[in-house]
Amino acid sequence: MASAIESLLFYLMVAFVPYALASYGIMISGRVGLFNVSGEGVMLLTASAAFLTTYKTSSYMLGFMVGVGLGALLGAIFTFVSDKLKINQFIVGLTLFIFATGLGGFLYKVIVGVVLVPPRVQVLSPIKIPVLSDIPIIGPMLFSQNILVYITIILGLLFHYILFKTHFGLKLRAVGDSPRVADVLGVNVGLMRYTFGIIGSALMGLAGAYLPLCFTGTFTETIVSGRGWIAIAITLFGRWNPVPIIFGSLVFSGVEVLVYWLQAQRVAVPYQFLLMLPFIVTLLILIYTSRRLEMPLSIGKHYDREAIEE
């Protein structure tokens, strides 16, 4: 029994990473005023590209770099099209989602083709932290994980520190809440938007690359299975703050692990219903929190210095 709990908690953290990374990406873009909803597509494309890279070269580093790089590229396109060409951010995000989803599946089919046994890579092996990893239950959960789990937790705390404890964070938040105020005080609004539009999407790319390389070891077209959308919900009810996003991500990875566990227990419920569980949880939490939702004040809006206000 103890080992079952240990293993569930271990997988809780493994499943936690893609939710958290994608949510950070949405959060940090939103904090400079960009609402990027392309995450689901970005993750599928980067999952496919990262898997193929690592499969062909056996290099995890290269796989992650391709994932992050493609994410960054899509982020640059997103920021350019929405900020420079002044096209509605949701339309740009949805277009990129469709494009990236199609491209991700296509790449895999071109390179691997249709095969009976899908190719696999070994998932990235855990790094055991001496002494700490021997603690029962939380040892395997927190101190015997792949490197991305550590990075994700540290990244969340780092974001919290930067956003709320430094002058840089004040400036960053100001860009998302009122680009005009920031501009008038000498902030380079365009530079901030490009920087964090790109970083945000790169984080989604990292989340995508994580799925085949650290989680499933293989690529299927359903590999992302809604995590990109759920990340938007996590960001919303995490009120665009890193620490609540960590907890929100844990809730969803918890639901995910619960679904696996229930399936393994052979519960007499069709598995399709179990797979609906994360979305039902999203719905319930969103209904509960929707009245108190907070957003960066100028999210989704174009900023034009010479435009007349109001």
């Binding site: 930067i162 404890k165 002058h167 400036k171 105020v181 920031a182």
Partner: protein, 514 residues
């Protein structure tokens, strides 16, 4: 401490699309001096200063600082050269504290990644406030502070960044007369310390009171420059408007007849929104042939009052009586049919349908009544006739009545709105700052038309922000503060000082005795 600056703007030109906003303007600005920049709305005052502040790019021209050409292509450049601009709409984030607003982009480079030292920041600001002689609650969120206090946050912001020249764009717009006095005192103190001000305004009296020198812009051109003791208000109006306007604020108010039954009576009207009281026991009677002025700083319940009268909002309690009939629950259209006409606060948001042509806009509200509607069908001939009439009488500059209303200039759209409300003599007219953004000549014209409604026996509620206007046309004035009526004054009792105090929250008796 303050560095002396001499800024020369040379031959500055700027166009927005086809509109020439500035046409070869020359101007000199010095620290230690208050320069009034006077002109009507759209004369180019703010545009010129936004160019100096780096927000707008000029098409032609040059800026020199202390004789040397200076490149100012962003606010960052302007701030680093000692220039700061306080816009009419303050550049503050309402959900942030005063302290956070002050320090946005204050620390730059790698240092900005170090932990903030909030205690040091508080100390710096407190010393600054001490030297300026006022105090701000640094932990309070901006949104909870009155506009007068927010303005001081802006001024501290300028100081914190070492400004020698501070540009104030229409700084008195949302201030009570008391706050205006305090602002002027602060400006004089700072001038002694060597700070220079550019005071952008269209209010003559304020320029005469505070400026050392005045420059007048009209339609993008510099009309002239005067030392303040070498000029007078009449000359400045003429420079500003381009023609002599006699008796700007004198109107012929026909003596009203015997007090009859009131046209409109509000009895103890209370209105609460989300548990917050917006109107507290308002009781007002307005008689035929009377203009009832409502004074107060915007946001003290005036909009709610207007919407209660139109029927857009339902009072939480209390009664509305129109010509003896209770209309508390009467729907909007029915009230229009009774003869209640409105000139809305925001012509684009509430008054017009900007994407429809002038003729459709000219019958909004009347569109279901004959002769404009025959049953469910619109009568195009009658509609065109009305639109043509309004365009003619109210001098709406347009090539045709088919032009889309949203493409009219602000002044012309406003004339259309006024014309629509007045085309048929209203029983009751409710007008909310109908002269906002209009030039002097049009303002005069609109006020004359409103006085005409009164002289023809209509009742008028005039919600205004400009005291000169209110005093010139009102028979009585009620002052609103935080949703409450602080008292009513008869025409012979009108005094700006008393009204000013009431706008700041004193009741009539208190305001009179102090």
């Amino acid at each position: 401490m303050v560095i002396f600056l001499r800024i020369e703007l040379i031959d500055i030109s700027k166009s927005f699309g086809d509109v020439k906003a500035l046409d070869h303007v020359n101007l000199t600005i010095n620290s230690g001096e208050i320069l009034g920049l006077l002109g009507e709305n759209g004369a180019g005052k703010s545009t010129l200063m936004n160019i100096l502040f780096g927000l707008y790019r000029m098409d032609e021209g040059e800026i020199r600082i202390d004789g040397r050409p200076a490149r100012i292509s962003s606010p960052q450049d302007a701030i680093s050269k000692g220039i700061f601009m306080v816009h009419q709409q303050f550049k503050l984030i309402p959900t942030y504290t005063v302290l956070d607003n002050l320090f946005i982009n204050y620390v730059k480079g790698m240092d900005s990644l170090k932990p903030r030292r909030v205690k040091d920041e508080v100390r710096i600001v407190e010393e600054l406030m001490k030297s300026l002689g006022f105090y701000l609650p640094l932990d309070e969120k901006i949104g909870n502070l009155p506009l007068g206090v927010q303005q001081r946050v802006e001024i501290i912001k300028a100081f914190l960044r070492g400004a020698s020249i501070i540009i104030l764009d229409e700084p008195t717009t949302n201030l009570t007369p008391l706050e205006v006095e305090e602002l002027f005192k602060l400006m004089r103190d700072l001038k002694k310390k060597g700070i220079g001000f550019v005071f952008i305004t269209h209010k003559l009296r304020e320029v005469m009171e505070i400026a050392d020198r005045v420059a007048v812009l009209r339609k993008g051109r510099l009309v002239g420059e005067r030392r303040i003791h070498e000029t007078n208000p009449e000359e400045l109006v003429e420079m500003m408007v381009g023609q002599r306007i006699e008796n700007l604020y004198q109107f012929e108010l026909k003596p009203s007849e015997q007090r009859m039954e009131p046209v409109l009576e509000l009895r103890d009207v209370v209105y609460a929104e989300k548990g917050i009281l917006k109107l507290k026991n308002i009781s007002i009677r307005v008689y035929p042939g009377e203009i009832y002025g409502i004074a107060g700083i915007a946001g003290n319940g005036q909009s709610e009052l207007l919407n209660i009268i139109t029927g857009y909002l339902k009072p939480s309690s209390g009664k509305i009586v129109f010509e003896g009939k209770d209309i508390t629950n009467t729907p909007i259209l029915k009230r229009i049919e009774l003869g209640i006409r409105v000139i809305y606060e925001d012509r684009v948001r509430d008054g017009a349908l900007p994407s429809l042509p002038i003729f459709d806009n000219s019958i909004l509200g009347d569109h279901v009544f004959p002769p404009f509607a025959k049953g469910k069908i619109l009568n195009r001939d009658e509609i065109s006739a009305r639109a043509e009439r309004i365009v003619r009488i109210f001098k709406v500059a347009t090539p045709s009545i088919s032009k889309i209303a949203g493409r009219l200039s602000g002044g012309n759209l406003q004339k259309l709105m006024v014309g629509r409300a007045l085309d048929k003599q209203p029983r009751l007219l409710v007008a909310y700052t109908p002269t906002r953004g209009l030039d002097v000549a049009t303002t005069r014209f609109v006020l004359e038309k409103i006085v005409e409604v009164r002289n023809n026996g209509g009742a008028v509620i005039y919600i205004g922000e400009d005291l000169d206007e209110l005093i010139s046309i009102s028979d009585r004035i009620g002052v609103m503060y935080k949703g409450e009526l602080m008292g009513e004054l008869q025409r012979k009792e009108f005094s700006k000082e008393v009204i000013g105090k009431m706008m700041a929250g004193y009741r009539l008796a208190e305001a009179m005795s102090k």
